[in-house]
Symmetry: none
Subunit: 212 residues, 4 copies
DNA sequence: GATGAATGAGAGTTCATTCAT
DNA sequence: GATGAATGAACTCTCATTCAT
């Protein structure tokens, strides 16, 4: 592993810099893979394309990652971790109130789907292209994220603030709605991110039938 | 193009029907392609795999379809048409009332996502693997389906039955929630199809903030 | 398998025929592989070289053999079978007398090492490059051939015709001497095959200390 | 060339000594190369494997040897020299009598094939993977070793002690038998080295038809 | 005396596709 | 209505090797 940790924060590429982020092969590769996997999907992407966009030779890629699959796994891992941590943090900052917690979770999710739109699509669409070993390793994290939503909604129902008769379906509906943003949202659109978060917060609250 | 027409003859198999072919070569190919595209995605599928599962030779496949891309396009076309027609029919059978119309559209969509689960996932996930020519040809149909939802909701708002402040987001949320069913639903689960449709109808009505 | 059987008798290529035996890809591939594996060894041989010498495309090779390893295994299998059968036949034609039987076995072995010199070297040198699965499958045949020698010598000792105190070492020495022929023998040399067989027969009889 | 001389410093490890290095980098590399070349053959071995087993970086290897081929050549050279010198020394210690001289040569050869079994196999099997330049350089030494046998046997025949009608074939048979030991001998077997040498001495004397 | 990062060539293998039958 | 044999391009991956440090 080891390598996987090195990723995470995308390189802070200055304006006017070359198309490819400098500062070491690994970052360039990670960035290139992210873009091309998102554009064409895992199987539609050739490792040559990635190397080319990274401005490196084909073999340099293999210096950092032992296989194409490992490259995907590292990418998905980073994304999944990052999303989960943001959720966790947001919930800690939110208070006890279920509505506030739901607002926090929707907001962080919408922000992620917009701000890390490309990554979101990778984690969603390429999940099935992970080999079982990698998928299993990450499945726990995924389940944990799901559980955050589930616990929150259950709490709201218990307290009599939410009135949805089928919490699981409510949860799935909210999450699906938020996730879908990454598919239709065009960066540079005319709708601001806070505004978008607010709209989906309202939708989520309606889905759980929130009454104060 | 001649071949494209052949798709129309695809078996209108009822929900729960076996995915295995019974007719001639074309049906076998279509069925096999459907399964394997769904399992592994377009680029993850080799035309040899399809032929093998269809129990035919590789060349037989080329008798029916001039290319792998054409096979995908035929599949997606059939699915998109089928879904749109069911929507259209359902709306004609529903009355004028926006809530009734929304119920009808949700119901038909949920039923489709469950009954033609595999096909739904293909149409959703493999859309991006259509070559521009094919994508353009089908884009109109897709837009029409979207328009059905949009018109219906706009009408509900105009009549004062729906109170959602952002009809586009409501629409996207509803559609995303329904579509997601195809991803998590396990055939043979403990929840009946009518029940599922009813739940999502309620969710949709809450999303548009329906008040009678 | 299936394919493996098709090999065996080298194509009867007429004088003036093209360098590569015609009459189907499999024969051409087999012949080419035989030559190049013998020249450069398994790992020193590229599958492209084989295809080139066979006058076929690289992929044609994969139509007949699923892998390079399979090609080697098929080759070694044919050779091992062929040699064993010749030994078996020769022993059936020889009488009961151990010396006669030893003569027969030496003769057939010398003839094989000379007549199928290339093949002999492949079976000997590339044995270790067989994957365990293939090696195990053929190991029985190899042991059977060894056993032919062992039984014969044991019989000679029992009858008091051979007087070697260490039959296993005698056997190994004889076999090693015969096998080595394939390494130094130059086709078109000045020593006839029957003469060579006769010489090695005498050597073998001396090794087992034959006294009439 | 400078590097080539470094070989001379290879550890003169006694029989049964561990194959694992203790000294500096060069010894580690030499030991690792010896093992892996023997296991998988020259072309089957990657220079990375060698470095890894030596516990060194890939580049360290290039500090000591300018190429993979040079590494092989150094190995084969050391082995060939060592064997020849032992033969030469043994013959000097033996007297004038051809039978004694044959005994000495067989003994030293058997001891070498057993005590430096791995090296013996490398020198035998990887000879063909030497580039012409290296092969030519070592060919003389090989011929000299052959000549030791040839002279000895010719002398025995001349003196009327050996009665083999075809001295060349006798020589080849003896050498082949001795060399083969390296292939079947299992270290730690139940037969002692002196005993083995004695057996092969007897076989050799029978092959040349020694009569006192 | 040794390393980490990189490279270009080539490895075995699979791909979608074709064509004569 | 279908097949067996073949192809060329592309695939993922490994190779021996280099070079700045």
């Amino acid at each position: 592993m080891g390598h996987a940790d090195a990723m995470g924060t995308a390189p802070a590429e200055g304006a006017g810099a070359p198309a490819v982020p400098r500062g070491g092969g690994l970052d360039a590769i990670t960035a290139a893979a992210r873009e091309i996997f998102a554009e064409r999907g895992y199987h539609g992407t050739s490792i040559r394309d990635i190397a080319k966009r990274a401005g490196l030779s084909l073999s340099a890629l293999y210096y950092w990652h032992p296989s194409k699959q490992h490259l995907l796994a590292a990418l998905v891992e980073e994304i999944t971790h990052d999303y989960f941590q943001r959720c966790d943090r947001a919930l800690h900052e939110a208070g006890e109130d279920p509505a506030d917690r739901l607002r926090a979770l929707v907001r962080v999710t919408v922000e992620y789907r917009v701000g890390r739109r490309i990554e979101s699509n990778i984690a969603t669409l390429e999940w099935r292209n992970l080999e079982p070993e990698n998928r299993d390793r990450l499945a726990g994290l995924r389940r944990s994220a799901t559980q955050l939503w589930a616990d929150l909604i259950a709490d709201g129902v218990r307290r009599g603030e939410f009135h949805c008769p089928h919490p699981d379906d409510a949860r799935r509906a909210i999450v699906a709605a938020c996730n879908a943003i990454a598919q239709w949202y065009e960066p540079g659109g005319d709708i601001s991110l806070p505004e978008l978060a607010e709209r989906y917060t309202q939708i989520a609250l309606r889905i759980v039938d929130h009454r104060e």
